[in-house]
């Protein structure tokens, strides 16, 4: 063990292998750092910024920062939790997230991370954007109101499914998820609910049809245990309330 390089994360030593990021090393070591756009099956993206940690005193995204021997990394400190709460609040006011009416409530990673960092209600002013819902596909629904632009479905469809069904267009606050067909409808694509892209959404933006409310509220994935224990919804099998296809 003595030969393995390590850094400290909240005073605990975390070993790592060359080329790993702080996030990957922490995950392997079983230490939770809150995150949404990170998924170990994909190259890091660094867009949600929820995994912000302090590296030798400087704020950095854990998912994109390479681990270096002797680094002092802080994560579970109030200063960072407050920033994470702010970022979560931004996500909630940017879209239309009506948790009590959402089929994914309780099994939603966005909601679970919000609880984990102590966000109970957004303080920022809501934007109430006009967004649509696309139910054109026989097996799946896309509710654009709930998209947080993590681009996991974009990456999964392009890099793993080889279908390139999703894309993000425009810039700034106008940036939004689109379906790559002339009609812009999911039903016009080859998207399938067995695709990787159907299993990675950390919110309720991509829903499988005919499966609503199979598990009662109160007994759902994150109702039982918090996200730092349960982990990503994309990594938990469907039979246990997650999204991973078996």
């Amino acid at each position: 063990m003595s030969g393995e390089p390590s850094f400290t994360l909240d005073d605990q030593p975390v070993p790592f292998q060359d080329g790993q990021t702080i996030m990957e090393a922490a995950r392997v070591a079983g230490v939770y750092i809150p995150h949404l756009c990170f998924n170990p099956d994909f190259a890091p993206h660094g867009s949600c910024r929820v995994c912000l940690v302090k590296v030798n005193g400087r704020p950095q995204a854990a998912c994109t920062t390479p681990a270096v021997a002797g680094q002092v990394v802080q994560s579970e400190i109030e200063e960072l939790q407050e920033i994470r709460r702010g970022i979560l609040e931004m996500m909630f006011v940017e879209g239309n997230h009506i948790c009590p009416a959402c089929e994914k409530s309780g099994a939603c990673q966005l909601q679970a991370v919000a609880y984990y960092v102590g966000m109970l209600a957004p303080r920022f002013t809501y934007f109430y954007p006009q967004r649509t819902l696309d139910a054109s596909h026989p097996d799946a629904v896309i509710d654009f109101n709930r998209c947080i632009l993590c681009e996991l479905c974009v990456r999964a469809s392009r890099d793993i499914d080889g279908k390139n069904v999703f894309a993000v267009q425009n810039r700034g606050l106008k940036a939004h998820l689109v379906i790559n067909t002339p009609s812009g409808k999911l039903g016009a694509t080859t998207f399938s609910i067995t695709d990787k892209a159907a299993q990675v959404c950390p919110t309720g933006a991509i829903l499988i049809k005919n499966r609503g409310y199979e598990t009662p509220i109160g007994r759902r994935l994150y109702d039982r245990q918090p996200v730092n224990v349960v982990g990503d919804v994309a990594q938990v099998p469907e039979s246990e309330g997650g999204r991973r296809h078996e």
Binding site: I87, I148, R171, G172
Partner: protein
Amino acid sequence: MAESSTLAQTIHDIVQRHNSVPTRLLQILREVQDSLTWLSPEAIERVADEIGLSPDKVQRVAEFYSFLYTAPRGSYDILFSDNITDRMLGNRRLLRYLCDLLGVGIGQTRADNRVSIGVTSCTGLCDQGPAALVNGYALPRLDKPRLDRIAELINSQTPLSEWPQDFFEVTSNIRRADILLGRHFADGAALRAVLKRGSQAILEELIKSGLRGQGGAGYKLALKWISCHDAPGEVKYVVCNADEGEPGTFKDRVLMQEYADLVFEGMTLCGRVIGARQGFVYLRGEYRYLLDSLKATLQRRREIGLLGQSILGESGFDFDIDIHLGAGAYVCGEESALIESLEGKHGVPRIRPPFPTTHGYLNKPTVVNNVETFAVTAKIATEGGAWFASRGTAESKGTKLLSVSGDCERPGIYEYPFGVTVRRVLEDCGARDAQGIQMAGPAGHTISPKQYDRRICFDDLATGGSFMVFAKHRDILDGMRNFAHFFVHESCGFCTPCRVGTSLMRDLVDKVHTGHGARADLDEMRRLGRIMKAASHCGLGQTAPNSVLDSLDQFPEAWERRLRSTSYEPAFDLDAALSEARRLSGRDDPGAHLPDEQSDLVRLAKLLADQDAPMSDDERNLLGALP
């Protein structure tokens, strides 16, 4: 049928001219738009097909850049520069005037598709505004008589080439010259120096000079060049960042207009030192009027052996320069976003590390430096590092070009040794009654008179060169509001804190500026600013709240005098929200409105919502009257 085959032919020809190379996509889309006035779905499909890209990738680029249009625009497309300095010079009045003359709304295209009018971020003509662009070409010094003429020219469909040339005349306004602008430079001198003394000797001069990146970030230049030189790989690139987008700065425009040889010489020198054969200038779209003359300069340099194969007759010294035009995206001033854009993509900053010196353009080792920095390197190669280091301060050697604009008698370019005080600059430019300065642009520092003895250098006030003066009669908050809107327009949208934070900040600033804010809103700005600074992916989001945060500290009274007396005001205007219901019911009588602000009911509601606020006797009586 005929129309679509013409479109196909036009696009085919343009793509062929660029050898169907995907890195030329942005250039191709610019040219397609020049021909067709906008990028229709059919045009985008065609371009994708011709290059062999998926249509969503082409769409991504077309939607990202603000000078590319995915909806029809007029054959004359006019964009008014909307920096605060243009506003000081009355651009909004002129904008409305021209809209009235031409019968078109702001941001709209006239029904006959002849003309469209909109606004854009600072066009870098702050010393000769109010300014606009027509089909991308700069129109400085606008006034009503000139707009009358422009409206006539548009209505008579006169081609731009037949417009009076003085409409397009951009002046340099060099007010103070030091070692960079003031001394003669013989073309080729730096290249002869590197051939005579060798790359290592030139690197040592650059180390000795202490030169730091003049774009504002201040990275030690020699370290960057050495890192790229040492990076493994046969193919390397030199990139000149001429995407001068920081509002209020225009010194790179003057360098490209008057000293292009010096800049190209610095780039060629860099190519020799790091072992690159290809250089790129990334020229901001607003400066497209310079393109022809820059291309001519490059051609002349090729003809006299300063560019191309075997430079100065030295076998193996091959280097050439290509110019890419940007298309209205401030974020592309960030070096990795600039590289993405050079590769023909939308300009989202990359994850760093790795840095461009090892993984830059096409993932090859790349030096990216600012225009001014390259110009300085050419001088150092000929005059020596010690000569350069004899000016400036301990940590900031040499000189800095400042772009001075706003309320002063002599706006223009001022070259000073680093360490000059704000006060000295104000005296020299004739700013007699400055109540404050916006230094280094909206992303920089807001300076109040008690800071006028601070020094312009990396260890005190670091700047890329923007210096905007606000006279006493101005409302500082007009500037802050303009800057907040600027960042909303320019956020690339990739990361949450910047994408959402810039809009939240704009809404808070608007709320206070229009007299609807309370103290809690100022606290909220600080909280929001902290999140954006700490958590944003790139420098844009990290610096976007600077002007608001600085001004809260430096000009608290400017904010406070706008506040309502309560500590909390809702963002939501209940009475305004009822306007649709009033319209539908055809009512507008007092009974269809909520009670006004001073009514007992409204005051009571506020008292209950705001328990910390001190209460007057009158208010106590009001509460006491409760059942």
